[in-house]
């Protein structure tokens, strides 16, 4: 039985980015992001010193005993960076999780519900999208004091809109697919369609968005901490970099390493997200 067919995907190269070692990049992303994540998880065992204790001379350049040097008080920077990973990842993951949990259901409901439900949910989404998250976070910190919990809440509250919109547009296009119509025609209920047909098709996309959201949140959290608005009880990369600002000319390492740690984590997350997204696009 020969079954030739009109394959529309035959010559369509869906991704616009350079061709090249694609899998390699996704893997590189996993390695980069995974490394800093492991630092965060294993902080108590990995960090050679207590990052809050004075363990060496002040402002010592990187050496064999202090890989990333010491700060003005003689604290070990490498230990600080290790513990900072924990904060960055915690805030990033918690916020991204909330973002996905808020955004995906809204997106699915809007896309499947259509009509008035869609209008209403999208108006709401558009509104939350206009809120400048950085400034809202600062206002909340100004009124309620600094703390990781409120940073997570504010960032989640202003981030879910992106997920909701992308998921909604995906659902809208899925809804027009005959397989959803077919389910409807054969008597499936709205819930059956959402769970059986839509969800498995949306889940990979939500995962990608989740990964990208972790990176974005890390950046915002870092900027807030850099300005001294982070959680005072937690060590964070942004705060370390902020402390290094005053010693830019005398101790280059203080500003260089914490910022690099953030860049490495976010780069890794973006590479993974990009790679997965491309695979998604070429498979649908």
């Amino acid at each position: 039985m020969d079954e030739g067919s009109v394959d529309r995907r035959a010559h369509v190269d869906v991704d616009g980015f350079p061709r090249g070692p694609r899998i390699g990049r996704t893997r590189a992303g996993v390695v980069l992001a995974g490394a800093t994540l492991l630092l965060g998880i294993g902080a108590p065992w990995i960090a050679p010193y207590d990052p809050h204790l004075i363990v060496g001379p002040s402002l010592e350049a990187p050496s064999a005993t202090h890989w990333m040097g010491t700060d003005a008080l003689g604290r070990d920077l490498w230990s600080g960076v290790v513990w900072g990973a924990r904060t960055s990842w915690m805030v990033g993951l918690a916020t991204a999780l909330l973002t996905a949990l808020l955004g995906a259901p809204v997106g699915i409901a809007a896309g499947l519900g259509g009509g008035r439900t869609d209008d209403l949910l999208m108006r709401g989404t558009e509104f939350f999208q206009t809120l400048p998250r950085f400034f809202l976070a600062i206002l909340v910190i100004a009124l309620f004091g600094a703390g990781a919990d409120r940073i997570v809440l504010v960032l989640a509250l202003t981030s879910w809109t992106g997920t909701a919109r992308v998921v909604r547009s995906e659902v809208l296009s899925l809804r027009e697919h005959d397989f959803v119509r077919a389910a409807r025609a054969s008597g499936a209920s709205g819930m059956q369609i959402a769970a059986g047909e839509i969800l498995p098709n949306v889940l990979p996309l939500v995962t990608v968005l989740f990964g990208l959201a972790v990176g974005r949140v890390m950046l915002v959290e870092a900027s807030l901490s850099f300005l001294g608005l982070g959680d005072p009880s937690l060590l964070s990369w942004g705060a370390l970099a902020g402390q290094g600002q005053a010693f830019l000319r005398s101790a280059w390492w203080l500003a260089t390493f914490p910022g690099a740690a953030i860049a490495v984590s976010v780069l890794g997350l973006n590479l993974v997200g990009d790679g997965l997204n491309r695979r998604l696009e070429s498979s649908t």
């Binding site: 039985m1 020969d2 079954e3 030739g4 067919s5 009109v6 394959d7 529309r8 035959a10 010559h11 190269d13 061709r19 697919h177 005959d178 397989f179 119509r181 077919a182 389910a183 409807r184 025609a185 054969s186 008597g187 499936a188 059956q192 059986g196 047909e197 498995p200 098709n201 498979s283 649908t284």
Partner: protein, 603 residues
């Protein structure tokens, strides 16, 4: 094969490959002489389009010419610099793309796109260019270029877009026109228009045409010589009659066998209905399975389907035909309650689908199943085949767990797919296999009525026959009734017992296939039938072809009186005063009814 001294275009041993993969075009040689029409045929994926694109140096990203030569009027095009190629493109060789919508820039006025090549290369003034554009559009019979020229492509209809592409390719008066599947996306009426346009262009300008298609019917209409490709290689080259009379290559025979006869006796599949077939004769007064009365569907305020009456006996087959957009698919969707704006009565086994409360509707939906047009879209890409086939059983709580799995495997047997396919995902299957899965899924709940909405239009013509045969056998075994929605008249002839012709959401003619196809009474039906491509090149020009001008009017502004009169070649003043009723002349047990005051005289 003519052996004139200087071919217009000559490909020798041309190979094209996507990087890192085996050659997609493998050692292709062919020649086109001045004034000659060469058909390049093969199923999709055989490398036809790549061959054509490589001639103009327009291969998609990643594809490269890996060997061979392309000579146009003696000069080599492989490896030629951009300037040389640009001198050829448009000016010497015009290219008409397969999908007219994606080949037009969505945000530039059509007339601008038609003359863009002119204005740029020949330094004409914008105003002259516009005049030129409109005369070009006029020449390919695009209606009213003054009005439509300045509009954007998405406002144009499919047939008009195809003509715009043709005008675009002809703008600089090339000597060779490469036409890629020019009519695949079009209705027969439009196909006939475009083919006659092409023939007209060719004869008037001594144009050479390279006609790329998977449809031998199109080739039979136009080509002098045929080159058959399969898996990147040329498997047969012959004069047109030879191809039809004594095909040599297996691939050629495959393409020929897939064709359904456009005339002659009705096909094998309806006959395969065997015993149940007699029930379709309409002689039995027993209550029909499906009884549609006064079905009207409004989308917004616009009635796209207007008081349609249909009757389908148990085990019978009825086809709805008409041009795309005529409302035939809307009727099909209304039957299963998927159209919100439907009113009237749809009685299935005595129960009204449209009036049914939700719980009842669920059970009614069990007895009507649909097979969708596009097998690429009708299966959930992230669910296994087994899941898809079991799905209706689970929805209707007819079976679960092991029992559902067992029934799914049996169904795969029935549609002749290996049981191992249950664990595969749709993207691992070909289009034809997916359509078999869709049929298995529909049959899982043992429906009384199967609705097939353009079931094979997304598949290569060659696959139709096999699927049709399968359907016929399944029908014989299971005894379900079929409602076939299609624009493909050869398919309808082969598959159905009765046919209803739909125009502007209204049925204009209804009767037994044999009666309607052999002596159509409504001028629209006659025009549709005359537009079907000939079966064999020797019949070329023998049939009197009624070319329908223009497009179907919008259902939002229906013509007064007979709604077909604006495109009818027999229209008279009386036609605009009153809508002809759908009547059968005289009492008969086997009615053949039509909606026309001045019907075509039967033979």
């Amino acid at each position: 094969m003519t052996d004139s001294a200087s071919p217009l275009l000559r490909l020798e041993d041309l190979s094209v490959a996507f990087d890192g993969r085996p050659a997609a075009v493998d050692g292709v040689s062919l020649r086109i002489d001045p004034g000659e029409v060469v058909g390049l045929v093969g199923r999709s994926g055989s490398g036809k389009t790549l061959t054509a694109l490589s001639i103009l140096g327009l291969l998609p990203r990643g594809a490269k010419i890996t060997g061979g030569s392309i000579r146009y009027r003696g000069s080599e095009l492989v490896g030629a610099d951009d300037g040389t190629l640009r001198g050829i493109r448009g000016a010497e060789i015009g290219l008409v793309f397969q999908d007219p919508l994606s080949a037009l820039h969505p945000a530039l006025p059509v007339e601008h796109q038609v003359v863009e090549g002119l204005a740029w290369t020949q330094g004409r003034s914008p105003k002259r260019a516009r005049t030129e554009a409109r005369s070009l559009l006029d020449r390919v019979h695009a209606p009213d270029p003054e009005t439509w020229g300045p509009r954007l492509p998405h406002e144009w209809s499919g047939g008009m877009r195809q003509r715009a592409l043709l005008a675009m390719a002809m703008a600089r008066d090339p000597a060779l026109l490469i036409v890629d599947e020019p009519t695949t996306a079009l209705d027969v009426t439009l196909q006939a228009q475009i083919l006659s346009d092409l023939e007209e262009l060719r004869s008037r300008r001594d144009l050479s045409i390279l006609l790329i298609t998977h449809d031998l019917g199109v080739v039979a209409e136009l080509a002098h010589r045929v080159v058959v490709m399969d898996r990147g290689r040329i498997v047969e080259t012959a004069e047109i009659e030879e191809i039809f009379d004594s095909p040599r290559a297996g691939a050629t025979r495959f393409l020929l066998e897939g064709r359904l006869p456009a005339s002659g006796a009705s096909g094998d599949v309806a006959d395969a209905g065997g015993p149940t077939r007699n029930a379709g004769g309409g002689t039995t007064p027993a209550a029909p399975l499906l009884d549609v009365r006064e079905l009207t569907v409004r989308i917004g305020d616009v009635p796209v389907v207007e008081s349609v009456d249909l009757r389908l006996p148990r085990g019978g087959t009825l086809a709805l035909v008409g041009e795309s957009g005529c409302g035939k698919s809307t009727i099909a969707r209304a039957l299963v309650g998927l159209e919100d704006g439907a009113s009237g009565h749809v009685l299935l086994g005595g129960h009204d689908v449209l009036a049914a409360p939700p719980q009842r509707l669920r059970s009614i939906r069990r007895s009507i199943q649909l097979v969708w047009q596009d097998p690429f879209a009708s299966l959930n890409p992230r669910r296994r085949i087994g899941w898809a086939v079991e799905r209706p059983l689970r929805i209707h709580r007819l079976a679960g767990g092991v029992e559902a799995r067992r029934r799914a495997l049996e169904l795969l047997d029935r549609v002749r797919l290996p049981r191992s396919y249950a664990r595969r995902y749709p993207h691992e299957l070909s289009g034809g296999e997916r359509q078999r899965v869709a049929i298995a899924r529909a049959l899982s709940v043992e429906p009384d009525l199967l609705i097939l909405d353009e079931p094979f239009s997304a598949l290569d013509a060659a696959l139709r026959r096999g699927l049709l045969k399968l359907l016929g056998e399944l029908r014989e075994d299971l005894g379900f009734a079929c409602l076939l929605v299609s624009h493909d008249l050869s398919l309808v002839r082969a598959a159905a017992e009765r046919v209803a012709v739909v125009y502007l959401g209204r049925i204009v003619e209804e009767g037994r296939i044999g009666a309607v196809f052999s002596s159509p009474r409504h001028p629209y039906t006659a025009a549709l039938l005359s537009a079907v491509p000939v079966d064999h090149p020797r019949d070329r020009g023998k049939r009197r072809r009624i070319i329908l001008e223009g497009d179907v009017p919008s259902p939002a502004s229906r013509p007064s009186g007979c709604e077909f009169r604006t495109r009818c070649h027999k229209t008279r003043p009386e036609c605009s005063t009153r809508l002809p009723p759908l009547d059968a002349p005289g009492p008969t047990s086997d009615p053949h009814s039509f909606r026309c005051f001045f019907p075509v005289q039967g033979r």
